[in-house]
């Protein structure tokens, strides 16, 4: 990189790309072997929750994992600040 480059903005878009890919690829890989109903389940859950609380689509995470030979359906909902404890 030249001297003039020192004066340019130095944030690297390549590292942003890498980080975004790392997350989406991991997410898509974990979804690969999982049952087809998970996306639908997630959508319906989101609709039900939204009847009561206005959450963001990314606030509902549904994951199917394995623990000690059992299949575990993990559901995580992050509520917006204003609704916490209310």
């Amino acid at each position: 990189m030249g001297l003039l480059a020192l004066f340019r903005k130095t944030s690297s878009t390549a590292s942003v790309a890498k980080e975004r890919l790392r997350i989406i690829v991991a997410q898509e890989r974990s979804a690969r072997g999982s049952p087809d109903y998970l996306p639908l389940l997630r959508r319906e859950l989101l609709d039900v929750i939204r009847k009561y609380v206005n959450v963001d689509p990314s606030a509902v995470q549904v994951n199917l994992g394995h623990e000690d030979g059992h299949e575990v359906l993990e559901l995580s909902v992050s509520l917006p600040e204003a609704h916490r404890g209310g």
Partner: protein
């Protein structure tokens, strides 16, 4: 025994046909008997890249449908004795390729004594792409250091690991390799482009070649002479290295470092 190599990527425009043509030429230059087969039914293009578009009489679908024999459809390369091209058909019928038909043609190519069958996959994950990879022993996944291409490659790796004959039979699966194209070391150095190691880390695969971004690739397709035949090109040497690695040689990666520049260029960037 013929080895079937699929060149695939998911995303279009990353260099599958360029790579198929150069790998097929490179193997043939080393004396191997090679057939390169275009699976992109309806969008035939390998013939143009190989420079034999005016010699296509019969195509892949004609052979499958029994309109002609395999030998009548194989186009012998004018530069390398041991290289043959099987063109895709320009039919719009998407069902022209059948699993049974493809199997029969591949078996027949093997029986003809071809040592390598290079399958040039269409983009996407539809039937053509599926059949191009289904019978493969090895896969060369062509990827650009760019987000959409990397993501699509991962999708293709998932299909290679599940929707192929080798995966279904459970005999070790398809051997997968990454080949990066349009690599620009200068942009990697300045943090604008993901590096070989970045892509390798995300996809978790060995890299069989890194082809630098080069104007020679367009010139080669303009002329109908696969870029590997251009002795003065870095892209050609990168493809030669990839072919050597396919054949089991261990070589360090070339053309991944920024070329040395003179004092003024370094002072003022650019």
């Amino acid at each position: 025994m013929a080895e079937i190599i699929v060149v695939t990527s998911g995303k279009g425009g990353v260099g599958k046909t360029t790579t198929s043509a150069s790998i097929a030429c490179g193997l043939a230059q080393r004396g191997k008997r090679v057939a390169v087969v275009d699976f992109d039914i309806g969008l035939r293009n390998l013939d143009l890249i190989m420079g034999c578009e005016r010699r296509v009489v019969y195509d892949f679908v004609n052979v499958i449908q029994g309109d002609c024999g395999l030998k009548q459809a194989l186009i012998k390369d004018k530069r390398i004795d041991t290289l043959y091209v099987l063109a895709a058909s320009q039919t719009r019928d998407k069902d022209a390729l059948t699993s049974e038909g493809v199997r029969r043609v591949l078996d027949e190519l093997a029986a003809e004594g071809f040592e390598y069958i290079v399958c040039d996959s269409p983009a996407g994950i539809e039937k053509g792409a599926h059949l191009a990879m289904y019978f493969a022993d090895r896969a060369v996944v062509v990827v650009n250091p760019e987000v959409s291409s990397v993501r699509d490659s991962d999708r293709i790796l998932g299909l290679l690991a599940s929707k192929t004959q080798r995966a279904e039979q459970g005999n070790g699966g398809v051997k997968e390799h990454l080949l990066l194209t349009r690599y620009n070391p200068r942009r990697v150095a300045s943090g604008e482009m993901m590096s070989v190691d970045d892509v390798k880390e995300i996809l978790g695969l060995d890299v069989i070649g890194v082809v630098p971004e080069s104007p020679d690739v367009l010139s080669a397709s303009n002329a109908g002479a696969p870029v590997i035949l251009n002795v003065e090109s870095d892209a050609a040497r990168a493809y030669e290295d990839a072919v050597a690695r396919l054949l089991g040689e261990t070589l360090p990666l070339r053309f991944v470092e920024e070329p040395k520049r003179n004092f003024f260029a370094r002072m003022f960037g650019g």
